[in-house]
């Protein structure tokens, strides 16, 4: 009998937060941005995070996106303990596992759409030719095959957000994090972007969208509501808390 190494069954859990706490000290005052947040997100889940401003949505996004480190609790991303990582390891995690889509697009204005999409691949050390092909493919996926050499200033808001989505996708991250992705777009364009996210979800991506719009949250299968830094409800979208 040949001894064949059987791989460990891959866990479907992408994100696990356990008693996550994020405290800010501001002039002697202690602010609890997140208090004891625990949740799990599995592969190919489509989740919306809702809550009024100041509820801790953005802090949670930053912690999940490895931009911020929690002051308490444990965070595992693909089974690795993020809360114990140093700056360098966090940068690598952002590069490989996270794809960010921001409300204000955050494209580099001096570069073409294609060059913008290539940025994360530069930091992962990919060779120019392969980088080029991957970025081109990502732009085709979001329907911008004919706008690759345009600069952000030559693109509409919806097109810019598509470039940003392509940039988030290009590294094939474990999770797409979208922070109010339709916040700066008119409602028709917003709907276009949301149908793009739906499509990406259908093709297997794991997506978390932070929003305060119920219309947007309803695209997701699951909605997590935050208030004062704590989870107040977590269930299928559409259920009114």
């Amino acid at each position: 009998m040949n001894a064949v190494a059987i791989p460990e069954p891959q866990s479907d859990v992408v994100i696990r937060l356990q008693d996550i706490e994020r405290i800010y000290h501001m002039g002697g005052e202690t602010i609890y941005a997140l208090r004891s947040v625990s949740l799990t997100i599995e592969r190919n889940e489509y989740t919306a995070v809702m809550g009024p401003s100041g509820s801790g949505k953005s802090t949670m996004m930053n912690v999940i996106g490895c931009l911020d480190s929690p002051t308490g609790g444990n965070y595992w991303l693909n089974g690795r303990l993020v809360s114990a990582m140093n700056d360098r390891q966090l940068a690598h995690a952002r590069n490989r596992d996270i794809g960010f889509v921001f409300q204000t697009f955050n494209l580099l204005s001096r570069m073409t759409a294609l060059a913008n999409v290539e940025v994360p691949l530069i930091y992962s050390g990919m060779r120019r030719r392969e980088r080029h092909d991957r970025a081109q493919h990502a732009l085709e996926t979001v329907g911008l095959a004919d706008r690759m050499s345009h600069r952000p200033s030559e693109l509409s808001g919806g097109q810019r957000q598509r470039v940003a989505v392509a940039r988030a996708l290009v590294t094939e991250p474990s999770i797409l994090l979208a922070d109010e992705p339709t916040g700066n777009l008119d409602s028709a364009t917003g709907r276009e972007i949301m149908s793009l996210f739906d499509k990406l979800h259908d093709s297997g991506n794991t997506i978390i969208i932070v929003t305060h719009e119920k219309r947007v949250a309803d695209h997701a299968a699951r909605t997590i509501r935050l208030s004062d830094g704590a989870v107040i409800s977590d269930g299928p979208s559409g259920d009114e808390a």
Binding site: D68, F102, N106, G125, R167, T171
Partner: protein, 402 residues
């Protein structure tokens, strides 16, 4: 990635702000141009002084007649004679050679060509003391001198001025003040010694010059080559002792001659050249410092302006090291571009200095390496702080930055 990509990003960013980059580079450009010019001039001056030292070949004291002041009026006078030279050669043990000379400009004629050159009347040992070599023919000897023979030795450029060559003119006759002289030798080229060109003189025996051309026994100048190991001061005292005795100068009265030390003169020039070099080095240092501060200032502005970009890059996975490198490389590219322009400017300045001001300059590969090392170092030193600031920005704050 990364160095190549970083380099491209830096170039892109500089191109996006070309005018500002040019202004920023100006300090470095001037600094490096100053370094290049300084080194070029310094090397040129040193080479000139070395060549002159070489040409002098030891310590030669030059004795001349001094102007006499009487009733407040300075009067030219010729006080030195052949006898003085003989006395020095006879009575002093401090000299290897005593060479009296007279010179004046005369018309010389060869065939149909007339030129006006310096006729130098001197003794046969002039060539040995002043380190000239004979190219063709021979130097005149003491019997030529004693016999006041009409023979001439030509310096290296004279045959060309007479439309012939060295081999062609030896044995022929030239006219000096309508007196015929036989050309017996032509000298090798010596090169300019700094005060005048010795390669367009015509030499004739001293006695011939005194009695056939000048008409008296005065000499204008006596060169005295100091014996090796003898101090210049001692030699000068001895000249003074002998000449005061010869001229019958009473104690307390002034000398009617002057003694000049050419090597001393060159030493002074060398000191001046060194001071000049230090001065330029100071200017170069100050402008590199100011240029570096300019670079730092602009890099700090750039970091602030591009805070959001830094946030975006960090969110996309750039490490602190990546960001540090990016801004450091940008500062260094600015400095190296400035260094390149400064090099061109310095080379241009050196060229004009030698072309129009007649200063000798030398641009060596060492000075080019120095220029680039300097500008890279300035970029590294003054780019480090802004780059560190960029690298240490918090990604969340940077992304929120408007």
């Amino acid at each position: 990635m990364l160095l190549g990509e970083t380099f491209l990003i830096a170039l892109q960013s500089i191109r996006g702000n070309l005018f500002r980059a040019a202004l920023t580079m100006l300090g470095i450009v001037i600094g490096v141009a100053a370094v290049i010019t300084m080194v070029a001039l310094g090397a040129g001056a040193q080479a000139a002084i070395d060549a002159q030292m070489e040409a002098l070949g030891g310590d030669i004291l030059s004795i001349g007649s001094s102007n006499r002041f009487s009733r407040g009026v300075s009067r030219n006078q010729q006080t030195l004679t052949t006898d003085d030279a003989d006395a020095l050669a006879r009575d002093s043990i401090y000299f290897d050679g005593i060479v009296p000379e007279i010179d004046n400009r005369q018309q010389i004629k060869y065939g149909n060509t007339n030129i006006n050159v310096t006729i130098l009347g001197t003794t046969p040992n002039y060539a040995d003391v002043h380190l000239f070599n004979i190219a063709v023919g021979r130097m005149f000897d003491s019997s030529d001198d004693a016999g006041r023979r009409r023979v001439a030795v030509l310096a290296s450029e004279i045959p060309g001025m007479l439309d012939t060559d060295a081999a062609g003119i030896v044995g022929r006759t030239i006219q000096i003040r309508s007196i015929s002289f036989d050309v017996i030798g032509v000298l090798e080229s010596k090169g300019s010694s700094g005060w005048r060109n010795p390669d367009d003189d015509v030499w004739i025996p001293l006695s011939t010059a005194q009695f056939r051309v000048a008409g008296n026994d005065r000499v204008e100048n006596i060169s005295a080559k100091v014996r090796e190991g003898v101090s210049i001061e001692l030699a000068m005292v001895d000249i003074e002792r002998i000449l005061r005795r010869e001229h019958g100068i009473l104690p307390g009265a002034d000398n009617d001659f002057s003694i000049m030390n050419r090597k001393q003169f060159l030493d002074t020039r060398q000191e001046a050249a060194e001071v000049f070099t230090y001065l330029l080095a100071g200017i170069a240092g100050v402008s590199l410092l100011v240029g570096g501060i300019g670079i730092m200032n602009i890099m700090l502005v750039t970091v602030t302006e591009r805070t959001r970009e830094i946030g975006i890059r960090k969110a996309m996975g750039a490490t602190n090291g990546n960001i540090l490198l990016q801004f450091l490389v940008e500062a260094m590219v600015l400095c190296l571009l400035g260094g390149g322009l400064g090099l061109a400017l310095g080379a241009g300045a050196s060229y004009f200095a030698s072309e129009f001001a007649g200063w000798q300059t030398q641009i060596s590969s060492a000075s080019i390496i120095t220029a680039f090392t300097f500008s890279a170092t300035v970029g590294l030193v003054f780019g480090m702080w802004p780059a560190k600031r960029a690298a240490s920005l918090d990604p969340i704050d940077a992304l929120r930055h408007e």
